[in-house]
């Protein structure tokens, strides 16, 4: 089970980790993007963090939707609508829930990831956050089906996410600003995939 408190912790931790890695993400984005990913993510999640107390009496669905709205209007770059869509779709599926069991977790991730794919029109292999999110969603679905605990599932998800990030390094970008670079986008780690991994890690750590 993931409690509401753990969801709130997740969001706070995400904010903290993105703040810590603000420079790092920006550095990754400088190489193949427009050098704003670290700032954008920090700006969005910092705002999310500042509003968490207001969300205390909401259900998980409502919290995730509120996060979505904040990200959409504060991030500024493409990750705003992308992460916004993730949380919006996830929140819509989790409406009314005070806690999440394994099935809910799988449904939530699938909805969120499908939303991002729809929004960004990216496929695995395009060197984007989908290279982390899609395998993670699949892994969670499989693990839950196999009867793994939520905690174990999330630990596994982090491993999958980390591998996903590493896998983006040799890829040629097909979407976003990095795609302008073509071949030259090779040998760089994708910043969006990296921030996705960090957020998944934050969830795992919050749940324990």
């Amino acid at each position: 089970m993931i409690t509401k408190q753990q969801v709130l912790d997740w969001l706070r931790k995400s904010s903290d980790v993105l703040e810590e890695n603000r420079q790092y993400l920006t550095k990754l984005d400088t190489a193949i993007g427009d050098a704003d990913h670290g700032n954008n993510m920090y700006r969005g999640f910092n705002k999310v963090k500042s509003q968490l107390d207001d969300h205390a009496d909401k259900d998980i669905g409502a919290i995730l939707k509120a996060v979505a709205m904040t990200l959409i209007s504060t991030v500024g770059g493409a990750s705003g609508p992308l992460y916004g869509t993730f949380f919006l779709q996830a929140g819509t599926k989790m409406a009314g829930k005070a806690e999440l069991d394994g099935d809910s977790l799988a449904v939530m991730f699938r909805a969120g990831v499908d939303g991002v794919k729809m929004r960004g029109k990216a496929q695995p292999g395009d060197k984007t956050m989908i290279d982390v999110l899609e395998p993670v969603a699949q892994a969670i679905e499989n693990d839950i089906k196999e009867g793994k605990s939520v905690s174990d599932t999330l630990h596994h998800a982090v491993e999958v996410a980390e591998k996903g990030v590493a896998d983006t390094i040799p890829l040629i970008a097909k979407k976003g600003r990095a795609s302008y670079l073509g071949e030259r986008s090779k040998d760089h780690q994708d910043p969006g995939a990296t921030s996705s991994m960090m957020i998944i890690k934050a969830l795992s750590e919050s749940v324990g």
Binding site: D36, R43, I72, S73, G76, A78, G80, G84
Partner: protein
């Protein structure tokens, strides 16, 4: 109207693009900018919520078109769409056109009322002009064809595999909209399409050029031949056939005919009423009885003729244009003496029309095509007029049409040596016309023309201004039935009520004859005594001031008997230009006005009063559902403190040169007034610092236009020296009715008991507080209501100067101490209807 939303990573970029586009869309477009994110440190980015708000701001069922700069802008825009409800979402389209060109083209089209699909097509093509100019365009747009090109087109078209004829049934023929459809269909296809107008025996032109298609002058029931060549010829034939046969989805009602004598829009339903009384709007008061003379303003008919010496025709045209310009200059000079410099400036606008590059390009091209100069000129004017007439419901535009006809006729006279326009009247008559042009009005023989009646015409047209200056009883908007009156019928015109009696009986004739005699007598006596001081029968001094819109008018109003200026509308300084006048420019204008009046005569300058009905191109107030309840007057100025302070500093500096006073318009709350006065204080301090002179005891005041100002007058009066009642706006706001809306206009009469009471209260409270009070609306010159205002305690009136002589004349007959006056005031204040008020006044 289709709304436009601009999405950019950069807020200034989005807003500047909006402003640029608005200029092209004549400020009419519904357009909103959604740029940047709300983070002062990193403002670059896009915000789906902002985009959503922008969409909702300009949304209507006509749809919204969203333009985005790049990257996340597109994704954020898509995101925003998801927050719309389904029916709205269907009406919102994201457009992939080039950002700047696309937005500008789309805004102009949207403002003209075009539909979504058309706007999207045009926007996507908007880049073509640039690529073509830079030679990057691989399609061969023909443009307006030269003779050489025409030969080529004819040759290619002649050899075309497929040729088909169509007869166009839609009312407007191949006008701009269907022509655009054809161009869109043909452009980008692997085929050449040429069209010629068989009815008018034209050459073939390329269907890729909008101008060429328009130049075919295809009118209703004309037959065109279309030639198709190339690999996609058949596909295009199918598409174009269908458009032609479906009449481009337009109406096929018969086209209105423009003929020389008949009215331009003869409507069978518009019969003469049985009682023979036509009602219109009074433009210039007075009475007249005389036989009717019918005239009509149209472009003279010119036969289409060919010539084979384009160079000679061109030089004939140049000469005619030069001569026409000289002649208009002469009319202007003559009018300056007779009707005043300001009115005469109208003719400058006509000279500009003569030099319109688009028009001249068209004419030159037609002459080059082998048409004679007169026909080329006439037909090009027709195109422009047609374009204007398609933009319906805009009185400014229709004013332009009459100016175009005026100028156009003059040039045709020079070209052909014939005389089309002179209204040659030497016997007393009432002139009846479809519409009167400014030069006709200015050249009228005022001895013989006893009255002017027009089917159409606007209160604000150039002709109306001239008619008023000439003092000829004039009524406009009498409707098409006017043209049905037989020549030489004796008619009776009451231009006070706006009525034309076409079947007058003897009683009416006698009554109006009496009114006319009286009117003439008063006019003459009033004119003689206009320069005497305003004074009542019992010797009480009444200040009679003028309303002016320009410093150049001041000498003219002084000559009409004004004792100063009670309302100087500063917005005229700001209009008809592309940027706000700076402090020095304003200072010079105010100073010159102050100096023309001398040290004593008051010059009350109202600070900028834009918004509502006074749009200014470079001031972007944004589309407002209800501009009269929106950002106007002081509300706008307070939102632009820097611009406002430029004006205040200019006013202060000019106050060193005369009795200049500052008046703030549209004050609704004490807070607004305090803010305005604080800004004035800041300006004083700034001038002190620079050591610039101003009148330290300068008087400040407010317009009383908003009912809340009357309700809270006790809080406003201590802050100022004077108030001036603006009756036009005050009655509109009191009665919650728009006086330009015919169905509720009568509600805004200042004879309404509510309006009279609020005026009485304002005057009483100001007098009790020892503050000056005046009135500067239309009511101030109404001599019928003047005794009541005197009884209320009003001692200062400001009006359009033409009313001053009669006002002073009537004033001399009134005894403010008579008991009748107090009783009149009491009766009027207790009246229950405007009719009852009028009864007391008669």
């Amino acid at each position: 109207m289709v709304g436009i939303v601009i999405v950019s990573h950069s807020k200034p970029l989005a807003e500047s693009l909006r402003d640029l586009a608005l200029e092209m869309g004549q400020n009419k477009a519904r357009i909103a900018a959604a740029g940047g994110v709300d983070d002062p440190d990193n403002p670059v980015g896009t915000d789906a919520m902002k985009i959503l708000e922008a969409i909702q701001e300009v949304y209507s069922d006509d749809g919204v078109l969203v333009f985005m700069d790049m990257g996340s802008a597109i994704m954020s825009a898509e995101m925003a769409l998801e927050f719309l409800d389904e029916t709205q979402r269907e009406n919102v389209k994201l457009c992939g056109a080039s950002f700047v060109e696309g937005v500008v083209a789309a805004t102009a089209l949207a403002a003209s009322g075009a539909e979504m699909d058309e706007i999207i097509r045009e926007a996507k093509l908007a880049l073509k002009g640039k690529t073509a100019q830079l030679g990057e365009d691989d399609s061969d747009d023909e443009g307006t064809g030269t003779a050489e090109e025409a030969r080529e087109s004819n040759e290619t078209a002649g050899n075309a595999d497929i040729k088909e004829e169509y007869t166009l049934r839609n009312t407007m023929g191949l006008h701009a909209r269907p022509a655009a459809k054809v161009v869109q269909t043909v452009t980008g296809r692997d085929a050449e399409v040429f069209i010629r107008n068989i009815t008018r025996e034209s050459d073939f032109v390329s269907a890729k050029s909008m101008n060429s298609l328009i130049s075919l002058n295809v009118q209703q029931n004309d037959t065109v031949q279309v030639a198709y060549t190339g690999t996609e010829a058949e596909a295009l034939q199918e598409l174009i056939s269908e458009m032609m046969k479906s009449n481009f989805g337009e109406s096929t009602a018969p086209a209105p005919k423009r003929t020389k004598k008949a009215s331009p829009k003869k409507d069978s339903r518009s019969g003469m009423p049985d009682d023979g009384v036509l009602k219109g709007i009074s433009i210039s008061p007075g009475f007249a009885i005389a036989p009717v003379k019918q005239y009509s303003v149209t472009l003279p008919d010119i036969e289409e003729e060919k010539q084979d010496n384009p160079e000679m025709e061109l030089s004939l045209l140049r000469d005619a244009l030069a001569e026409a310009e000289k002649e208009i200059e002469e009319v202007k000079q003559k009018s300056s003496n007779e009707i005043g410099e300001v009115e005469a400036a109208i003719f400058d606008a006509q000279i500009l029309l003569l030099k319109d590059p688009e028009l001249l390009k068209k004419v030159d091209a037609r002459i080059a095509e082998g048409l004679t100069a007169p026909y080329a000129w006439r037909s090009s004017l027709d195109d422009v007029i047609e374009m204007y007439e398609q933009i319906t419901g805009d009185s400014i535009i229709s004013t332009r049409v009459i100016d175009l006809i005026d100028v156009g006729t003059r040039v045709l006279e020079k070209l052909t040596g014939e005389n089309f326009s002179d209204i040659d009247i030497n016997e007393p008559c009432i002139l009846c016309m479809n519409e009167i042009s400014p030069s006709d009005a200015a050249s009228l023989n005022t001895e013989s023309v006893l009255g002017i009646c027009c089917e159409k015409g606007s209160d604000v047209s150039h002709s109306a201004i001239i008619a008023r200056s000439l003092g000829i009883p004039t009524v406009f908007n009498l409707g098409p039935a006017l043209s049905e009156i037989k020549e030489d019928t004796e008619v009776v015109l009451n231009a006070e009520t706006g009525e034309l009696f076409t079947k007058p009986d003897d009683t009416l004739k006698q009554q109006i004859a009496k009114e006319r005699a009286h009117w003439l007598e008063v006019k003459e006596k009033a004119h003689d005594g206009r320069k005497e001081q305003g004074i009542t029968a019992n010797g009480e001094r009444i200040e009679v001031l003028a309303n002016v819109g320009d410093e150049h008018e001041i000498n003219q109003v002084l000559d009409l008997g004004a004792e100063g200026v009670g309302l100087f509308r500063s917005e005229f300084l700001f209009m008809e230009r592309t940027e706000a006048p700076n402090e020095d420019e304003q200072f010079k204008a105010y100073k010159s006005a102050a100096q023309s009046l001398g040290k004593k005569k008051p010059l009350v300058i109202r600070t900028l009063d834009v918004g509502g009905d006074k749009p200014v191109s470079y001031i972007s107030i944004g589309e407002e559902e209800n501009p009269f309840l929106g950002q106007r007057g002081i509300r706008y100025c307070l939102s632009e403190p820097e611009m406002f302070k430029e004006q205040l500093r200019a006013l202060l500096r000019a106050s060193a040169f005369g009795n200049l006073q500052i008046m703030f318009p549209m004050i609704a709350t004490a807070g607004e007034l305090r803010k305005a006065l604080n800004l004035l204080e800041e300006c004083r301090a700034e001038l002190d610092e620079k050591g610039l002179k101003y009148n330290e005891k300068i008087k400040t005041g407010i317009m009383i236009e908003v009912p809340s100002a009357v309700e809270t007058l006790d809080t406003l009066l201590p802050l100022i020296d004077f108030v001036s009642i603006g009756t036009n706006d005050l009655s509109q706001y009191m009665m919650a009715a728009d006086r330009t809306n015919p169905s509720v206009g009568p509600l805004t009469s200042y004879y309404q008991p509510a309006v009279l009471r609020v005026i009485e209260r304002t005057i009483r409270m100001a007098n009790e507080a020892g503050k000056e009070v005046s009135m500067c609306g239309e009511m101030a010159r109404d001599v019928k209501v003047m005794p009541v205002l005197l009884a209320f305690g009003l001692r200062k009136f400001s009006m359009s100067a033409a009313g001053i002589p009669e006002f002073k004349y009537r004033l001399k007959k009134i005894d403010t101490e008579s008991s009748g006056l107090g009783e009149l005031a009491a009766n009027v204040l207790s009246a229950r209807s405007p009719e009852e008020v009028k009864e007391y006044l008669s």
